[in-house]
């Protein structure tokens, strides 16, 4: 228990550190927010007025604590460009991103683990080589390229799926699923290999140990050995890599969202970075960081729970 509490406390501390980094990072972006809002028509007077209004004249640390205080009370601030509450505009976008990540994960994780197990069972044979080769090839291709390939074949040539994945409230569930098939597949191909290769490596590692040899000697079949003895002991590293990839599905989808015109967080972030809407960029950055850190905490906790030595410390 103490270990878990430690991990959570570390995570929170890390989140604070990240918030400071995000704030510092957005401060050193070139260009001035006021100037980029007013654009071509800026006059010195209107610039000064706007700076005053936005509180840009206060020192950085005061602005940081004001911002942090707001976030801790659930107020993400208002967007500079639209003067809208960030939390309410961000909500549906975050939901869309999670929707895509969830369905991709539902397919990707079982598939990756199954392929990993198969690769171990038939290791160094043609099946293992085919699975590994295909997975490695798809990972080596950048996601925008995979995205455009999918669009070219499945949207333009065969016209099975739409090339633009616009989803909206009140869209029938099945249509929503159909709309995310292509971006989901692109993401799947990116994360699949990593998870599958790690599963394979972790189990193979366990397969070298003495108790697996014993199991072999007492005549268990290969699959039974993997299922009963090797897999449970390989869970910790597998969970780790799965969580890492889940985090990628949420925070790493910017490119895929833009290509498939998916109304998620990535598109939202890109729209606002272009306009130097710093509060929005900060809020999105912080959400991404929170997702990443919390998934890693979950991975840590899972590996603690999966390890009897950590579960029952002496």
């Amino acid at each position: 228990m103490r270990l878990i509490a430690q991990r959570v406390a570390m995570g929170i501390l890390l989140l604070f550190a990240v918030s400071a980094l995000i704030f510092a990072g957005t401060q050193i972006l070139p260009g001035d927010v006021a100037a980029s809002i007013l654009g071509q028509s800026a006059t010195p007077q209107s610039l000064a007025n706007l700076r005053e209004e936005l509180g840009l004249n206060d020192p950085a640390y005061i602005r940081y604590f004001r911002w942090l205080g707001g976030i801790l009370t659930g107020d993400l601030g208002t967007a500079l460009t639209t003067r809208q509450d960030i939390a309410t505009t961000l909500g549906p976008r975050l939901w869309n991103t999670l929707f895509l990540a969830f369905w991709t994960a539902v397919v990707a994780i079982p598939l990756a683990i199954l392929l990993g197990l198969l690769a171990v069972r038939y290791r160094n044979g043609p099946i293992d080589k085919t699975i590994s080769g295909f997975a490695l090839a798809s990972t080596s291709l950048p996601e925008f390229f995979i995205g455009y390939l999918l669009i070219f074949f499945f949207a333009v040539k065969m016209q099975w799926f739409p090339s633009i994945s616009t989803v909206y409230d009140g869209m029938p569930f099945l249509e929503k699923l159909r709309a995310i098939v292509l971006p989901g597949t692109a993401l799947l191909l990116v994360v699949l290999a990593h998870m599958m290769r790690m599963t394979r490596a972790a189990i193979l590692n366990v397969m070298q140990s003495a108790y697996v040899e014993t199991a072999e000697l007492k005549g268990l079949s290969q699959l039974a050995i993997i299922r009963k003895h090797a897999f449970p002991n390989a869970i910790a590293p597998i969970v780790n890599v799965v969580m890492l990839n889940l985090a990628f599905l949420v925070v790493g989808v910017v490119v895929v969202e833009v290509i498939f015109v998916y109304p998620g967080m990535g598109q939202y972030l890109v729209d606002h970075v272009a306009k130097r809407d710093v509060p929005v960029v900060q809020a999105v950055g912080l959400i991404f960081a929170a997702v990443y850190i919390s998934l890693n905490i979950v991975a840590d906790i899972a590996s603690i729970l999966a390890n009897p030595r950590l579960r029952h410390p002496r």
Binding site: A35, Q40, T89, A155, S163, V258, P263
Partner: protein, 528 residues
Amino acid sequence: MSNELEFLSRYVVAGRLSRRDFLGRAAALGASAAFANSLLGSAARAQGPVKGGILKAGLQGGEATNSLDPASFLSQVPFSFGKCWGEYLVRLNRDGSLKNQLAEEIGASDDAKTWTMKIKQGVEFHNGKTVTAEDVAATITRHADANSKSGALGILTNITGVKASGNEVIVTLANADADFPYLMADYHLIIQPNGGKDNPTEGISAGPYKVTVNEPGVRQGGEKFANYHGGDAMGHADQIEIIVINDATARTSALQGGQVQMINRVEPKIVELIKRVPGVTIQNVSGRGHYVFIMHCNTAPFDNNDLRLALKYAMNREEMLEKILFGYGSVGNDFPINAAYPLFTELEQRTYDPDKAKFHYQKSGHSGPVLLRTSDVAFTGAVDAAQLYQQSCAAAGITIEVKREPGDGYWSEVWNKQPFSTSYWGGRSTQDQMYTTAYYSKADWNDTRFFNEKFDQMLLAARSELDEAKRKQMYADMAMIVRDEGGLILPMFNDFIDASGAKAGGFNVHPAGEMMDGYALAECWVAA
């Protein structure tokens, strides 16, 4: 060959031959895909509009930040969507003249300072109310009020009074303006109930479509308004929808995949590739937007007209058009007006002439390199254009030093500040507005520092001249002054390049703006 093709194209329209078969036969007969497609288009137009269906456009230029308040319109999606649900007093025809929409008759007093607009009777808003002169007057006052932050505010500052009387709206101006009716075609000036003073973002007007879907930055759509006053001219499809697709590749693949029937902003460099896609037609039209190289006429060395002329003659316009716009534009003639404007007069075309450039350069007595500042934010390909210009100047013995400035801060630190830079203009609705914005000596954006008394006088005189023939002559004379004495080098006007798919019937480009001046969804139909 063409008789046979025309015959076949009528077959396609009648549904007796598939599109693919037609294009195949056309290719067999040696016709290019583009020609065959255009033939199909004209046959479809001749056939007449088809009613029903859903028409979709994939457009660049929509953000999560868009609102339905017409005063806030800035980018392409609100512009196009506004023309679907909004109704205006007037709209522009393709020949540059005006067509009455909610206005029935527009007349001016002899001094062009008082304008009376008679409002069409019995027109219904989407909410069932009747359009009155009061609504029109309230719309104009709202946009002319500085607090509205309307995009149309700049062109309405001349208004001193607006009042409704019976079915007429009477507008009084501080200074005479013969172009006043053109201002009413501005895309912000959608007539709303009580001018939108009660609820500017409700999306209610008297256009051919009622707003049904409004998800800014994602999609916006409408359904046919049964009581539309304009009869059969617009509103053929049952529903229209705009899907915001800001990525250029995603836009073209959505068109190819048939998810949308029309897209805007096709990049010049991929036009040739898209042309080969069966069923897709490139819809390009020369607009008013132009790319410029601007010199400050009051700053050395550009205060010498011979140097300015040398730099003008050293511009290879055809090459620029070919290499920067891939041919999708038209050459400029060093004044900011082209045939897209009403009352345009063609002047003798200035061409690349290294000898004349050399002559004027030597006459100017200047020596040493000339510093040109540029950045890719000035216009797409501006840095390449500057390098091409460097080459064509070198042939005339003029050394240009190209300095690439950062895109950040280009509009605040370089444009309108440094004596020689690259930039662009989107054009204005009338010649008067274009000249007043950027060439009048008192203009804030006089980015060539052009101070010419004679020009100023003519500009003001033309504004109050109601005799069109005389105004046309005045504008021609003014163009001549800018061309020969100004600080503007205008190598090219850029085209609007849209593309339509096989199912978009009736696409007919409009020089006033992309997507048929925004009316594409309202005027096209879903072809069988």
